[in-house]
Symmetry: C2
């Protein structure tokens, strides 16, 4: 087992990473302040792991909520199920919410914890690669709105994150690849040595080799934690680097309707598009664009948006993105592999060229 | 005009109190960071003051949302109207929400600001006495849930509070008295000299004499700010003193359905009940219970719960209150006028006696 501490002053917390951790409740219990817990999971993950998790929580008053599975349920309406379960179970301010599942479960559980009685504790037990490398660090919680993704939410840090790499054994291939997109992203942002390592070890990761997995997850969490620590509530621009590929990706997700493309798939394609625009600006060498394209492809991720998203619509969807500040679109682009920057200094005509080049007719 | 600063480190903010402040936009503008504002008001207050407020915001992109009026609309469903208006107006992270109205508008606007894009600025322009002396200080925001009042929310501090005492001229008597309940509360908690002043000046307050009003509002805000500064997120017990009368009051509000009794009316009655229980415990002298009863009565507030709330039901409703910690009910009781304490060291039989004595058959 490896343990990483996310350093955020009095809100610091540990991330434990390893095989079989679901059966090690002693890692979790020091972080439960009261005698009540509410495990939030979904219809897919619950049947696989809920009973194992609950077995380790004996002696506590443990309730559960089972949510429907899917990004389309990440809404205020679904939140009400969590609030109702908490109130029906008379959960007080000493309760701890435990998120058992992927990013959707984690985001909603964290938001419920941020807002129930104006804030209670929560713990993450992420069971998808995406959630393990993305939602474990950063404290972002929230839900979607019909008019935009992740528009409603709060910053709320977990008390502990427990990553059992065995849970990836049951993850379907498409979800697994979506997680690899975020892993690749960390290499691209500011960790070129990790990008090199990924090029050398992508086959091991695709075979879900435990040692390779533990390394990739740990390195991803470390990379993200370093960026987040410098900008916890996204007030300076630094944290925005984590949105590499995301503005393009959000346009794809919104344009196709939530739930059709996985978030990680959209980000994978978005990174390739960001690399393409970076090349058109004269920043990234053509050979490095090829490296990005090749690694995303090897991770079995799409590199083109779906049909039915003409350039005009694509640009309109990018403009609604919340990173529009003072009306100007800002994008994370690449000056090199491992050197991402947030900028609004790009020629909109070049952005249009990139989208034209990728859009299906 | 008087100005009070609520000292909360980097989240400190001013409260301006005086007549005619709605026409002094220069007080507000330094606190608007971006070029966009969203004024949130309701059907009652909007027609009275919205245009005057907007007249002072020329040059900004100012949108508005008009909510239905009433505690029964303080829900997640109503929140969605604010989120939709913000998204349709393409409001970005630099926007500022302005709450123009009473406590319901303030609580929902603050919660929308706390959660839109994971947090934007907001400003309060409270137009009821209750909101002026209660919601102006403390940073509590949120909505009700069918299973309990204020169960969903966040702590989020305003950037500025603008209190125009002229707005009380249009406030109906019942709402005005409800505000006086909270004013009396500050005297009871830890400001016996203010309680004495209220006994001497209640007639002036009932006539809404501007000088008396400005003094009462300022003193109430100061009293509350002192308590809140010591315990911003309600983690120690100190801030809980502000709940004097509230646990009894919440039982009345929930038991009769939100919107039938005003919050302040329920708190007024709750303070009398808390005084009664304090006397039964041997803490408060009978003559002081009479002083509490007399001042609440002079403020034209009810001192008995409504019919139809038998003792068993009343106690059940108190138990669901969120101040139940670790399953034990804690109440704010009076050791003296101006000396409130949070305690679970009361005999439940005495609590039952108090409720029996007040409950209608």
């Amino acid at each position: 087992m490896e343990t990483l501490t996310v350093a955020l002053g009095e809100r610091s917390y540990p991330i434990h990473i390893g095989a079989g951790l679901l059966d090690r409740p002693e890692l979790l219990r020091p972080h439960l302040r009261g005698e009540q817990v509410m495990v939030v999971t979904n219809e897919t993950v619950g049947p696989l792991y809920l009973e194992r998790l609950l077995a380790g929580l004996q002696g506590l008053r443990a309730d559960r909520v089972i949510l429907p599975d899917g990004e389309q349920y990440k809404t205020l309406d679904t939140m009400d199920r969590i609030y109702t379960a908490l109130l029906e179970g008379h959960h007080d301010r000493g309760t701890t919410l435990i998120a058992l599942g992927g990013g959707v479960v984690g985001d909603m559980t964290g938001f419920a914890a941020a807002t129930y009685l104006r804030g209670v504790d929560f713990v993450q037990v992420p069971t998808t690669l995406l959630a393990q490398v993305d939602s474990s660090v950063g404290g972002k919680t929230g839900v979607n709105h019909p008019l935009g993704k992740n528009m409603i939410g709060a910053f709320h840090q977990p008390r502990c994150v427990l990553i059992d790499t065995d849970t990836l054994g049951t993850l379907e291939d498409r979800q697994y690849s979506a997680g690899l997109a975020e892993v690749i992203k960390y290499g691209l942002i500011d960790d070129p040595a990790f990008f090199d390592w990924l090029e050398a070890n992508m086959d091991r990761l695709l075979e879900r080799e435990p040692e390779a997995l533990a390394h990739a997850i740990r390195r991803s969490c470390e990379d993200k934690a370093r960026i987040v620590a410098a900008d916890e509530t996204e007030r300076s621009g630094h944290r925005a680097l984590l949105n590499l590929g995301h503005t393009f990706g959000h346009a794809i997700e919104t344009g196709t309707g939530y739930g059709n493309w996985l978030h990680g798939e959209a980000v994978g394609c978005g990174m390739v598009m960001a690399a393409d625009l970076s090349r058109r600006m004269g920043w990234l060498k053509p050979a490095d664009v090829d490296r990005v394209h090749a690694l995303v492809t090897r991770a079995r991720l799409p590199t083109r948006p779906p049909p039915g998203l003409p350039t005009e619509r694509f640009m309109e969807l990018m403009a609604v993105d919340k990173k529009v500040l003072g009306g100007r679109l800002r994008l994370v682009l690449l000056q090199d592999i491992g050197r991402a920057v947030l900028t609004d200094a790009f020629d909109p005509a070049l952005l249009r060229e990139t989208i034209d080049a990728f859009a299906s007719p």
